[in-house]
Symmetry: C2
Subunit: 311 residues, 2 copies
DNA sequence: GCGTAACATGAAACAAACGAATATTTCTCA
DNA sequence: TGAGAAATATTCGTTTGTTTCATGTTACGC
């Protein structure tokens, strides 16, 4: 056989390219530059003397050879992950406690499935989800009442570290027949004559107000609703606009129940973090929870992108 | 999860260490220095912050973590090989003809099983074994009557390349009750009063005569036999001594039918090669046959060691 | 205890991977 | 069809990682 010293790195690369649909997007996921990805892919193709990726198409297409290697990647990479997990268990034991607090209302959409797959491989870990809205969820970590907090704040606090999870796009929501639905994207001023329907949280927790409307000097009328479906129902019945993460509205978009548009030419992007006590960062069952969330989310959620800061 | 950038290289290393029973022996198989293996293993252990190999024992013992990673290696490395084979088939097609000539009588012992496993993965290749003793088997390659020759000669010929397969030890054979069986190893002079039982081939093809007895000025009486069992039978019935590769006599040794001793303090080692036409070296089905022979042989044969020259 | 075989280590050579800057290609939309 | 934007390729210098050489250390058998 050709002494191709193919490595797992190459399989991870190909998988990222296939999933992301392009070299640049793959580079973001891998926390590499586009240049590095291009180099590495080319080197691999030259080592095999076989093209793997058809670059012309968008999203890029794998060749037959590329698909064969992707099959290999799908077979081997999860096994490698499982083995590394087992090693971590050998080292630190497989038991622990993980009490999770969540700041973001729509995060339950992906958190529940992620917890389910996590439970499959960390059966010794006692998973707990703290209910109710918390004024200062990160404070729970320091009080010892929670072990991990999903948040979009990163206010530095001694003894707390923030692990980036992913970036997500907030989409403006409107009835499909609304005049704004004809736009490619919305301007801040488009909100000035509309009621804004939100979860019942303070204004400074709403990215749309804090980062877009407030800087533009716009103070819309607000109306609050507890549940995502209630917000959507109000939007659909023309009581106002709302802004929610793309994943939270995807099923309703598909059915044409509402329309969604980016906010601003580049969209309004937020970032989610897992906050943990510094002392817990070394614990394998904690680190792997964060990895599970990321892996799971990228596989399932629309409208997310890799965290800007490297993990 | 720890962002362990574990790579296939590490798995290959661990597998080699486990199979070879030590770092130095593993290094030979991988065609690396002992130092490189030691460095690399240490780096892996430090990345995982887990010991993998218990160096004190001989042969070295894997720790629980090491065994877990070895399990991973056994699961993934064959899949990788299969994928690379499929890529080679995509590139060059999966059909071909491989007519094999064999110079060495006992080579059928390992060649048949190797051909069987080769056939499983190269079903489009027409495998043929040329029968009968050939005076000049490599000549068959140039005449186009064979495509691959198993030989221990490496006389340079234009258009022919010799791919090293492995080194093997020739053991001197005697009845278990023979006086020489008490020795740790035999000297050339031990053969001077004995009949030497060999296959019916010219003297210059017999390593024992050409490399040991002739230089020592010893010309033993020869007696020829066609079959391995016949040679063994003659030895067991005190008609003389013989010298055969370790793998050919292992089953008889186990049963105590005969005894075997090294020839000289370091043993008498020979080397086997696959000779192919230079034009065929690029053909995937040819290269993979050679790889299959090596893999299979190291897994099954006693008394062999990696080729001295790198492949 | 002495010698041997196997493993470890430090320094230097060598090779591979990566990133920054920039060029080229491809796509989109008017 | 041509301008601009987005994606990929390329060149070159830097960084990082791997291997070897030379030598040190350790374990073990006699």
């Amino acid at each position: 056989m050709n002494q191709s010293h193919i490595e797992l790195r190459h399989l991870r690369l190909l998988q990222a390219v296939a999933e992301a649909g392009g070299l640049t997007a793959a580079a973001e996921r891998l926390h590499l530059t586009q240049s590095a990805v291009s180099h590495q892919l080319k080197a691999l193709e030259e080592a095999l003397t076989l093209p793997l990726v058809e670059r012309a198409a968008r999203p890029v297409q794998l060749t037959a050879a590329g698909r064969r290697l992707l099959t290999l990647a799908h077979a081997t990479l999860p096994e490698v992950d499982a083995a590394l997990r087992d090693l971590a268990k050998l080292k630190d034991g497989d038991a622990g406690e993980l009490r999770i607090a969540v700041e973001c209302h729509t995060c339950y959409d992906w958190l529940m499935p992620a917890m389910d797959s996590y439970r499959d491989v960390w059966q010794g870990v006692d998973l707990d989800l703290l209910g109710g809205f918390q004024a200062d969820p990160v404070g729970l970590l320091l009080e010892g009442r929670a072990d991990l907090v999903i948040t979009s704040e990163t206010t530095p606090r001694p003894g707390i570290v923030y692990e980036p999870l992913f970036g997500f796009e907030m989409l403006a929501l409107m009835p499909p027949a609304h005049a704004l639905a004809k736009r490619k994207y919305l301007h801040p001023r488009d909100f000035s004559d509309e009621t804004l329907i939100t979860y019942p949280v303070p204004e400074d927790r709403l990215d749309l107000i804090r980062r877009v409307l407030h800087p533009a000097g716009i103070k819309p009328v607000r109306r609050e609703a507890q549940l995502t479906v209630a917000i959507l129902q109000l939007v659909a019945s023309r009581r106002g606009l709302a802004a929610l993460p793309a994943w939270a509205v995807a099923p309703y978009l598909e059915r044409g129940y509402i329309a969604a548009r980016p906010i601003g030419p580049h969209g309004l992007w937020g970032e989610l973090y897992a906050a943990v006590r510094e002392a817990d960062t070394g614990r394998a069952y904690v680190a792997d929870f964060i990895e599970t969330v990321k892996r799971d989310s990228f596989a399932r959620l629309p409208g997310i992108r890799p965290a800007i800061i490297a993990a």
